[in-house]
């Protein structure tokens, strides 16, 4: 097998999109495909795309759920703009996704579902297979449902209809294994592992996998196979990871390195829930999770835990962050360590809850009453959510402050092939603890460098003290209404956060560190797309560089210096211009241009490149 191919084309990369009903298990199929690709040595990036209804009526456009996988033999940094291969299990899936495929793409449909009834449900007026709309595409009409069923039935195992139909994924998988010229054994292994405890399921799924593979090999329709070689220059131990899992693990890593326990107080909300779910699995690592009655109780329980000497963490998305702002202010004035993770989604209000956006930035920086400064950082790839969750823990503990870590739906649910870090080599984190009975301890005495106060923990002898939301006197921490003390304390709080700039890396330039014509400025989850677009344009000879920010407030110390090396500055964000407004207020000396997209979707590389070229051309 795998050797008798007719016509194999070598590809650097390919984007495959799986689409079907919400209940069809598209995410699972996509994951299986990407895991298989990883095991063949490809680099990859994935992104799911699902509606806000759980399972809107079958066959309707509202119910279509998708999963996009981008694999390649060079570094893959985004799930890809448009698909080379689309698997559409029904007409609604086809209809929804035709605008997201490349011209000439290969489209595999389950022909069993392409009948009048399904067309109508999907809202088609004409039969898309006969109205010329698919002209120019390579269409593969596979009888996926019927062949899967027939295969299962032939085994005479007394399998019910529903279970039989679930094997369709394996048919698709078999087909793809052939299409990508891969050893189908890997597919077999996956099945054996997944259904380890259910031998019947192993049997039927294996059979259907082979049925798919053989169908592809046999049928005339598929003339070409693709071959994507293993990624070069990437050595090490890798795994797929979503941003949410990486965030959870980064939090664990940070607290372990600090020698404090991790306490998560949270309330479920899309797309942040998986962090809570993930952490609830790791009690054996001394992680405690508390599913609170609401977001306010979530953050408050975390503050209580921090007061008691754990690191309190709370995870949420925009609407939840809104609810947490009052309590965040309490953490600011009491100067307790706390990590707030905001996985941004489409707003305002409930907005587009399953879509991605970067529109909580202003709320993160400014969304508290009074003068309430706190540091804000942002992760930029699914994998580096680990690194920045770790950073959030470090900053919170070493500087005694609440920290907001921004990720987004795109990072949270997307995956990349991530090199597993060496836990032993992660830096130590040193919280400013106090010794029992320290005669010099005062609740608001400060470290002269960082300006943080020290952390005396209930249970410690001789350090009893009281903190709270009323303004406190410098050093001694008594309730104080003194006007000048308030000014002193307000400035300490601001200064403490500003001084974090001395403890974070300088801003890097991707491209020409000496400067040049155009600097692209981005932050957070758009890194993959911006980086690819800039890199490709540089390869094409354009004078363009990228400064992509992970440290938002305070900004890296050299930000002004970096900006001043370039003539033009284009700030790209998935919102209506929040970072650019913030930059204007912080570094008003540059005249920023802006490029914004607010469609609940990530940037596409193509649209970025177009915009960048235009910006370069403009006088």
């Amino acid at each position: 097998m795998g050797n008798n191919q007719k016509n194999v084309i070598e590809l650097e990369e390919v984007v495959v999109k799986f689409a079907g009903d919400s209940g069809d298990g598209m995410q699972l199929t996509g994951n299986q495909f990407s895991d298989a690709s990883a095991s063949f040595g490809n680099d990859l990036s994935t992104f799911p795309d699902y509606p806000s209804e759980i399972r809107a009526p079958q066959g309707t456009v509202a119910g279509v759920s998708g999963f996009q996988v981008h694999i390649g033999n060079k570094a893959v940094q985004t799930p890809g703009d448009l698909a080379d291969v689309l698997i559409a299990l029904n007409p609604a899936a086809l209809k929804t996704n035709m605008k997201w495929v490349k011209p000439g793409a290969t489209i595999i449909i389950d022909i069993d579902n392409f009948d009048n009834k399904h067309y109508k449900k999907a809202g088609y007026i004409e039969d898309p297979l006969h109205d010329n709309s698919l002209k120019g595409y390579t269409l593969i009409k596979a009888p996926i449902t019927s062949l899967s069923r027939a295969t299962v039935n032939s085994l005479e195992l007394d399998i019910d209809h529903k279970t039989a139909d679930k094997t369709r994924n394996q048919f698709v998988m078999g087909l793809l294994f052939w299409l990508f010229n891969r050893d189908v054994k890997k597919g077999e292994e996956f099945i054996v592992k997944k259904f380890a405890k259910k031998p019947d399921l192993v049997t039927i799924n294996k059979a259907v996998l082979f049925a798919g593979y053989n169908y592809a090999e046999t049928v005339e329709a598929i003339a070409t196979q693709f071959n994507i070689n293993p990624a070069k220059n990437r050595k090490g131990t890798f795994r797929q990871v979503t941003g949410n899992a990486a965030t959870a693990w980064g939090l664990i890593a940070g607290t372990q390195k600090a020698g404090v326990k991790l306490f998560l107080g949270s309330y479920p909300i899309t797309p942040a829930t998986e962090i809570l779910q993930e952490l609830s699995l790791h009690k054996y690592l001394d992680v405690k999770t508390f599913q609170a009655e609401d977001e306010i109780a979530g953050i408050c329980s975390a503050i209580g835990a921090s007061f008691a000497g754990s690191l309190g963490v709370t995870t949420t998305s925009g609407p939840g962050l809104a609810l947490k702002t009052e309590a965040a202010g309490l953490a600011v004035i009491t100067e307790l360590p706390l990590v707030i993770v905001d996985v941004q989604r489409g707003g305002p209000s409930t907005g587009l809850p399953t879509k991605t956006e970067q529109s909580d930035l202003m709320q993160a920086i400014y969304g508290r009453h009074g003068e309430s400064p706190l540091p804000v950082i942002a992760a930029s790839t699914p994998g580096n959510c680990f690194k920045f969750a770790f950073e959030a823990v470090r900053i919170a503990l070493e500087h005694m402050t609440p920290v907001i870590l921004l990720t987004d739906g795109y990072l949270a649910n997307g995956t990349e092939l991530w090199e597993i870090p060496n836990v032993d080599k992660l830096p130590e984190i040193i919280p400013p603890l106090v010794k029992d009975n320290d005669p010099d301890f005062q609740p608001y005495r400060r470290d002269p460098e960082k300006l943080n106060r020290f952390w005396a923990i209930p249970g410690q002898e001789g350090l009893q003290h009281r903190i709270g939301g009323l303004e406190k006197s410098d050093i001694y921490g008594a309730v104080s209404h003194d006007p000048f003390n308030h000014e002193v304390m307000s400035k300490y709080r601001a200064g403490k956060v500003q001084k974090i700039e001395n403890y974070i890396p300088e801003q890097k330039i991707i491209g020409n560190p000496k400067g040049g014509e155009l600097l692209i400025i981005g932050w957070g989850g758009t890194f993959g797309a911006l980086n690819v677009a800039v890199t490709e344009l540089r390869e094409e000879g354009y004078d363009i560089s990228l400064a992509h920010f992970n440290y938002i407030f305070p900004l890296p110390k050299n930000t002004k210096e970096v900006f001043s090396k370039f003539k033009k500055h284009l700030v790209c964000e998935l919102n209506l211009g929040q970072f650019v407004d913030y930059l204007r207020s912080q570094h008003p000396e540059f005249s920023y241009q802006q490029y914004n997209k607010i469609q609940g979707l990530p940037f596409f590389i193509k649209e970025l490149k177009n915009k960048f070229k235009k910006t370069l051309e403009e006088k």
Partner: protein, 339 residues
């Protein structure tokens, strides 16, 4: 839990600075009673934490020489919950007002109770918002004229005990700010109870709701209008100890012993430990003038606490997890070695 070696005294818990409530505020005797009760609970100073929300009552932690945290209006309980769950070894007390616990904090109140987290919650029920100067609270009697109800309130007040029991509370008691001994003994009981203890304190606010409880607690009427419940004892009351409570169908009734053929045998015995909440619910709901108001520990039943169950799960996971450390976690699942 760490137990104190040398016996502590009230003075160990008194602050050096000023207590800043109004002269005559019911807060003072409550503070004194807590400071006297604590040494009896066998704690060490450094293991006691007082948490509060916002309100006059919530200034409490500033007046205790222990660890303390004056938090946000309504949020004392989730903060105390996080603290206790993460550190079950600490003794955590919550000082809160009727507004703090049952207006803005009402949700946390019922959720904390159903989780049975081992906190001792003192509700200073003065039936008014003190700190904001006299608006009605969720416990203000229907029809009351206050700063925000110039024509009288039109809301049925909550009974803290009723809510506690309906939220599956394991401990509820009611005390009066004027009665130091009663408070001390109930505070000690609450401290000993392993689970959420709710103590409603009928507290006087001299400034904005003066004498609101007098109808019941005034010296001359109190014996007939309150009943002190003691576990395993007959529920009798009255100046002459000649009245008692009986169960008549679905209702509790107050009767005179010796009248209408009622004898001491008919009088109910108080059982604070019965798991079935029905009778506690009825006792907690008793209001004057229909019935005497119940004082003392109404309900105190054993049930596992949230933090104990969680710690069990943690221990169990540590013993049974195949993955043992972070490294193992990062390498679990599908791993690809690329060479």
């Amino acid at each position: 839990m760490t137990q104190s070696q040398t016996k502590l005294t009230r003075a160990d818990f008194q602050i050096d600075g000023q207590v800043k409530w109004c002269a005559g505020c019911g807060g003072y005797p409550i503070l004194a009673a807590v400071q006297k009760a604590l040494p009896e609970t066998g704690v060490t100073k450094e293991n006691v934490v007082f948490i509060s929300g916002i309100g006059c009552s919530s200034r409490f932690p500033y007046y205790m020489k222990t660890y303390g945290f004056h938090t946000l209006h309504g949020r004392a309980l989730p903060i105390a919950s996080g603290l206790k769950i993460s550190r079950p070894d600490l003794h955590v007390w919550v000082a809160t007002g009727d507004g703090d616990s049952m207006a803005i904090g009402g949700n946390h109140f019922i959720h904390t109770i159903r989780r049975n987290i081992n906190l001792n919650i003192m509700i200073f029920n003065n039936k008014i918002y003190g700190l904001t100067k006299g608006q009605y609270s969720p416990t203000t009697p229907l029809g009351s004229i206050t700063k925000t109800s110039p024509h009288g309130t039109i809301e049925n007040p909550f009974l803290p005990g009723e809510l506690t029991i309906a939220a599956q509370g394991t401990f509820f008691a009611r005390v009066v700010d004027k009665e130091p001994k009663g408070m001390e003994s109930v505070f000690i009981d609450a401290a000993k109870h392993d689970g959420t203890s709710v103590i409603e304190i009928l507290q006087n606010c001299v400034i904005f709701n003066n004498d609101i409880h007098e109808q019941i607690v005034a010296k001359d009427v109190r014996d007939d209008r309150m009943i002190l419940l003691e576990h395993d004892k007959k529920m009798i009351f009255g100046k002459e100890n000649d009245k008692g409570l009986i169960l008549d169908g679905q209702e509790i009734k107050a009767v005179k012993i010796g009248e209408n053929g009622i004898t001491m045998d008919d009088i109910l015995v108080h059982d604070k430990k019965t798991q079935n909440p029905n009778i506690h619910y009825m006792l907690a709901r008793m209001t004057y003038p229909e019935l005497p108001v119940a004082i003392g520990v109404i309900r105190s039943v054993d049930q596992p606490t949230y933090e104990a169950m969680l710690d069990e799960q943690v221990e169990h996971a540590k013993k049974n997890s195949k993955i043992k450390d972070l490294k193992g976690l990062l390498h679990s699942g599908n791993i690809f070695e690329i060479k």
